[in-house]
Subunit: 314 residues, 2 copies
């Protein structure tokens, strides 16, 4: 992406998505703007508005753009190009450090299990965080250490992130990959061949209840029936200690048109009503451990999560 | 469908599918053959081979075709046209009687619950049985009697029978319908708005363990966690008393190409391995009742199912 317009198009068309990655793209977008369209605050303010308008509800994007703008305003014009590029690169390095720590912590958890294949849902790799990813990074690191022999990936309807993104990333990482319809996950878990189920998280309440891509709760519920450990791998930015439990997490409902079709192809009759929540909530009692970059939380989760949150960053 | 070639094309292209409907189409196909291509046994044998070759593993199709051929061979040539048409119509009437009894029995079960919406999976209506359907007939009858206020239908990946067929049939039957991705079923069940989950069955073991379209087991497991009753509605032909439990039911695995795409559209990288079982097994302890045309079986299922099987047909 060589200019601001290309960055905005990539965000709008969802060619870049995932909260941490959108933050990185916001920071890099501001750096591109200062390099290509001008160093004045007026020009940067315009770039910031343009970038934020691409996805107004993306918190990480807005935060990264605003913070770049404020930082640029605090220094003379001639320092702004190098400052914004340095900030974007530092942000990527920080994300890589988080993902690395998370991967190491997760691999240690998997090391305690019998080696075998794992099941994951949605996309949590580089295409989501810009660095190694979250659950994906744990799986890749587990495979490198030979505790994860293979990875099953759900298609992840309705937006098919598993089929489109995770399958591609697994192959790229050299992890033997098998795709399955979301409907086949329960029988796969029941078949007894998995050593674990591991997913990311969109928001983790203080008690450990976890909102993640819709479909996660069903996987966790079936895993519990079969004694297959269910792990959540997510950075501490996902932990919301102000939110006491899953019941307090608002669930976004998305356009009905995403159901009954994909990318212009329609399978269902037109005009049908659809139930299309973006997330579901997995109750803490179904979660064997929450893997973060600061450590691995087990029940009672609140204690560990508060302790991790209080740990000063190194 | 006005000739044998059209019937064969409809079967091969899956425009007609569903075990009972394929039986009816086999019987009607033989009647069309005797009317349009000739009354000799040689000609009917050829028609039978052609029909059976369209889907060699469809038991109901093969059985109906062979039985029509044997019946035709037992009478003089001039009686064959009316005999085969009468047999096909009698078969449809028998199917309608089964579906009607099943619908009435099921509606009585639903009458015992608080009125509300139900969730179903895959397709179990006229497009599956040729008459009223199984689980679908129960839902439609429950709606007519005002105990079923609406029906949620899963998309049912990978072949999307819910999105393509059930959604259309619900609208046609005047039942308020909402489509959902398979991934959203668990959160819908957890939301507390359903009065029941109800599906069909492909094969029911003597102990009540039930093989049905892949994805059914996950629905039943989550329904059990939330105290939502899970019902199976299926004709007695589905009950296999020679099969002691679900462990003895063979599960068909289908082509990997069905996963990661649909109808020529591909979402996943090429050449990826896929886990694609056609069915899964729901253990009997998750099933509140098995609704048949002969009565409603509850735990211990084997006793009731053997009793229903021993009941002479009226």
């Amino acid at each position: 992406l060589h200019d601001l317009a290309a960055v905005c198009e990539a965000i709008r068309s969802l060619r870049v998505r995932g909260a941490p990655l959108l933050g990185l793209v916001g920071a890099a977008g501001m750096a591109l703007a200062v390099s290509t369209t001008g160093v004045t605050i007026r020009s940067l303010e315009e770039a910031a508005l343009t970038l934020k308008a691409t996805r107004p509800t993306a918190v990480d994007l807005g935060r990264a753009v605003d913070s770049a703008l404020a930082a640029a305003a605090a220094v003379p014009e001639e320092q702004r190009v190098s400052l914004l590029w340095d900030r974007a690169e530092a942000m990527l390095a920080a994300q890589a450090a988080v993902d690395n720590a998370l991967a190491r912590n997760g691999a240690e958890v998997l090391q305690g299990l019998a080696p075998g294949p794992v099941l994951t849902h949605c996309n949590t790799g580089a295409l989501a965080t810009g660095a190694l990813g979250t659950a994906f990074a744990v799986i890749a690191e587990g495979h490198r250490r030979e505790f994860v022999t293979a990875c099953f990936a759900t298609e992840t309807r309705p937006l098919l992130q598993g089929a489109r993104l995770t399958a591609w990333e697994l192959r790229k990482a050299g992890v033997p990959a098998t795709l399955l319809p979301d409907t086949a996950a329960a029988s796969l878990i029941a078949s007894g061949q998995l050593s674990a189920v591991i997913t990311g998280a969109d928001r983790i309440a203080a008690n450990g209840d976890t909102a993640n891509k819709v479909g996660t709760y069903g996987l966790a519920a079936v895993a519990a029936r079969h004694g297959v450990p269910f792990f959540v791998a997510a950075p501490m930015t996902t932990v919301d200690l102000g939110c006491p439990s899953g019941a307090a997490i608002p669930i976004e409902f998305r356009a009905t048109g995403e159901v009954g079709g994909f990318a212009g192809q329609r399978w269902a009759p037109d005009g049908l009503d659809a139930y299309n929540p973006a997330f579901d909530v997995t109750p803490a009692d179904l979660i064997a451990a929450i893997i973060t970059e600061r450590g691995v939380a087990t029940a009672p989760f609140e204690e560990s999560l508060r302790q991790f949150a209080a740990t000063p960053r190194r």
